[in-house]
Symmetry: C2
Subunit: 302 residues, 2 copies
């Protein structure tokens, strides 16, 4: 088992987590959370989404959030779903864009109102614009392992999407297990082949812990040579257009596992737990991380 | 990534799970659970423990449980902590014994009132008795990856214990991550070396999901060539003498992952979920499996 010296952990809780919570936080609360996360040592945080507020009202304050956090010494990313969102994002002063599409047409139509091909056409325009505007770019492929409507996504299909993204110019490509049905064997198979065939691409993985396999999938990804992972503070998250999707893998559990394995993440765990506490106080509920459940249990039995 | 055709899943919920629950079940409830589990297709179930009722009152009914379930077409095991427990176990008509010791002296003294060496001396007698009596035997080494009092258990220490057990005659040796602090890298390192050095031994692994790494550790074990895993229905479990230990890995999540990976377990998942439902109805609480949490969430949002 080859383990790397370093894993890059990209915190996506403020976007993928908060967009799915029934309770919306205030702008001030979001800013405080992003600040605490930045102090924990993340190099990159996905802070919000420039999706239309009609679809995701929780993130209607994207401009205010970015305006108050863009001075932080990190790369601030936001999800950019379309041209309108792109315009808002650039105006806000964001540093980087996560450009999304779905590997499956039915999820794409449900989530973005576009087939995969239609997304690719739009991403071509947005990517070239982003390069002109000096934005950092990463593509993010939903349902790259499986789709709630179409089942398992074939490696062939993923290759087609990656081909198109590479042709556009993307060099950071995230593959998302939107509904948490990837398994470690599939992850290893897909990622070792993709890593071999696209040496110019830095792949990133985004797992949900729907069936408890999130960290097992991370380990399979590591073995296949992928060293960048999205995760969400407190395991917040889901997908409003993917029935049955639960939270992202928890940042706490991921960083804790990496530490135990001797892999550097540059996250200060003590600072990270302050962010956990803050999230828990905001929502007044237990977090969806195993670390949280265990600590609660220990406290209960004391 | 080499994956096996088949995984052996040994259900330990009726022992490792029930011993730790605050609410004790009736004999009839336990029997009904073991029957349902047997119908799910397990080859082996650890049904109870012949520990002194003073220490684990929940399992004081061991004789009654075995008497009512020993006709089932499975291998019924019970945990056997000492000579007195052995006598009771044999009289009960049990098919197999799980003979326990700790890899660390301080946990051994806390859990069994014996150092590792003292346990080894006693196991020698018990093993030879068990062979005479025609019992199936497996050894079970607590704190094989880490100890709540002594920290990480070195591979050297584990080797010493395995050497002693092999010398006694044991050919099935379970290594237990009693407090869930093993990590996938450690698991792979330890198990690939042990598997190489003890070709005559069938190693079994027993993980707790304390930090969410349970299934990741299973995958690391599989890669190292270990194909037998203890797990507990609903993730019940813990250790009364290991502060901070939470539940075993959940049988549902393990079987579900194996199925997704195309590995046969011979467990009928639909039948297994009936046992989950039964456990949940007994304790009237959510189960500690990700499958349970996800299904509850889906039901909640419908």
């Amino acid at each position: 088992m080859m383990i790397p010296k370093k894993l890059k952990v990209i915190e996506v809780g403020p976007r993928d987590g908060l967009q799915n919570e029934k309770k919306n936080l205030s702008v001030e609360q979001k800013i405080a959370l992003i600040q605490l996360l930045a102090e924990s040592g993340f190099e990159e945080i996905e802070a919000t989404s420039f999706v239309h507020p009609k679809w995701i009202p929780n993130l209607a304050d994207a401009e205010e959030v970015i305006s108050a956090t863009k001075h932080l010494p990190i790369n601030l990313f936001a999800l950019i779903p379309n041209e309108k969102g792109y315009e808002r994002a650039v105006k806000s002063g964001i540093h980087g864009g996560t450009f999304v599409l779905s590997a499956s047409d039915s999820h794409g139509q449900s989530n973005l109102n576009k087939t995969t091909k239609e997304s690719i056409r739009e991403l071509k325009i947005l990517y070239s614009q982003a390069k002109q505007d000096g934005l950092l770019t990463r593509a993010s492929v939903s349902t790259a392992f499986g789709c709630p409507f179409e089942g398992i996504t074939s490696l062939e299909r993923v290759r087609q999407v990656v081909d198109s993204l590479v042709e556009i110019g993307f060099r950071r490509i995230g593959l998302c297990d939107t509904i948490g049905i990837a398994n470690p064997y599939q992850t290893f198979e897909y990622m070792s082949k993709l890593n071999q065939d696209y040496k110019q691409v830095e792949f990133e993985l985004h797992f949900h812990n729907t069936y408890g396999r999130g960290l097992a999938n991370v380990c399979a990804g590591i073995e296949a040579g992928v060293y960048s992972y999205d995760s969400s503070i407190g395991g917040l998250g889901g997908c409003p257009y993917a029935p049955g999707a639960t939270g992202n893998i928890s940042t706490e559990d991921l960083v804790d596992m990496a530490q135990a394995m001797g892999i550097e993440t540059e996250i200060n765990f003590t600072e990270l737990l302050k962010a956990s506490e803050l999230v828990s106080s905001y929502f007044n509920k237990p977090l969806d991380s195993q670390l949280w459940r265990t600590n609660s249990l220990v406290a209960l039995n004391k």
